[in-house]
Symmetry: C2
Subunit: 191 residues, 2 copies
């Protein structure tokens, strides 16, 4: 739905944005966010600096754009589609999928979420919390645990998951995913 907007952009614009995003993603793997300048990004992308500013107000906005893309990919890949599932089943499966998703792109996400680039982590957090909140407001979830406030639960679990993911990504010798998930089960009391 959001891709629609992108696809209706001028060919040149889509190309420019793609080049800029890829350039930033590459540079973030090479060195920390603070040490990447707009000049660096433009050189790598072979895009004139004024063109950069025609698309984004600053470096952070490009980073946000990159993270939003990753978040969309993550959500569409990881969220279970089974409409019959209750909260617990749903959350545990989503959690498992998300960890596996991040594990597959460990290098890039590690670069994005750590070393100062997680400046915009609240981008991810807002997107994900919004999504989860919408979900928890559905009747099937409300019925399962009517006493839980969907907004509170959404922010609670989103923050918890992102914190775990960030910590797991930052570790040089990360815990096995199964170990994480078996712990996670104990923290989700909702049935």
């Amino acid at each position: 739905m959001d891709d629609q907007k992108e696809n209706h952009l001028d060919l040149r614009q889509r190309k420019t944005r793609k080049l800029l995003v890829e350039a930033l993603a590459q540079l973030l793997v090479e060195r920390p966010y603070q040490e990447v300048s707009v000049v660096d990004i433009c050189q790598r992308a072979m895009v004139h600096r004024t063109t950069f500013y025609a698309h984004f107000n600053d470096k952070q906005e490009l980073l946000r754009y990159l993270l939003e893309g990753l978040e969309r990919e993550c959500a569409s890949t990881c969220l279970p589609q089974e409409p019959g599932w209750g909260p617990r089943e749903y959350l545990l499966t989503a959690g498992r999928n998300v960890f596996q998703f991040f594990a597959q792109r460990r290098e890039l996400y590690r670069a994005c979420l750590n070393s100062g680039a997680d400046a915009q982590a609240h981008t991810l957090e807002e997107c994900a919390a919004g999504e989860l909140c919408r979900l928890l407001t559905e009747p099937r979830f409300r019925e399962a645990s009517p006493q839980v406030d969907p907004q509170v639960a959404a922010h609670f679990y989103t923050g918890a998951m992102l914190s775990l993911i960030r910590w797991w990504l930052s570790s040089d010798d990360p815990l096995p995913i199964d170990h994480l998930l078996s712990n996670l089960e104990q923290f989700i009391p909702i049935q």
Copy 2:
């Protein structure tokens, strides 16, 4: 313990840092982090710009310094000292205290944690998670729930709490603290 280092600094240095921190704190209430320049901070603090760079490498480092100070204050104010308490009692009380602490400084924290300044939220997150992890490693907590990994639990609950706090601070019409806390109880299955 960390204040020791600060206290042994030269009088002039302590004064300069105090002025810079206060200037940033003031400016953050007035406008978003991105729109506050080093020049602005120095003018407000009546400190020469080169002096700024003698103390901090950049704006972010000053922000980190500010947040660390707030975190220290928060921890020393909010963490229960009762050695006999189990995890659940401890976490719920700490949670209540932390929310009340943030509520009292709502304006400043709102400015710090939102509008791009939470760039350094992981500063708070790391500090708090480290603290909580140390705590959960104590025998009394290990005995209460031996199957829980202290590191995983620490990052899980720290992220969850900070996410809730950030969301609560960002809301113009925030939920009553009691409502938050009663929900929170349901999310802490540990006895």
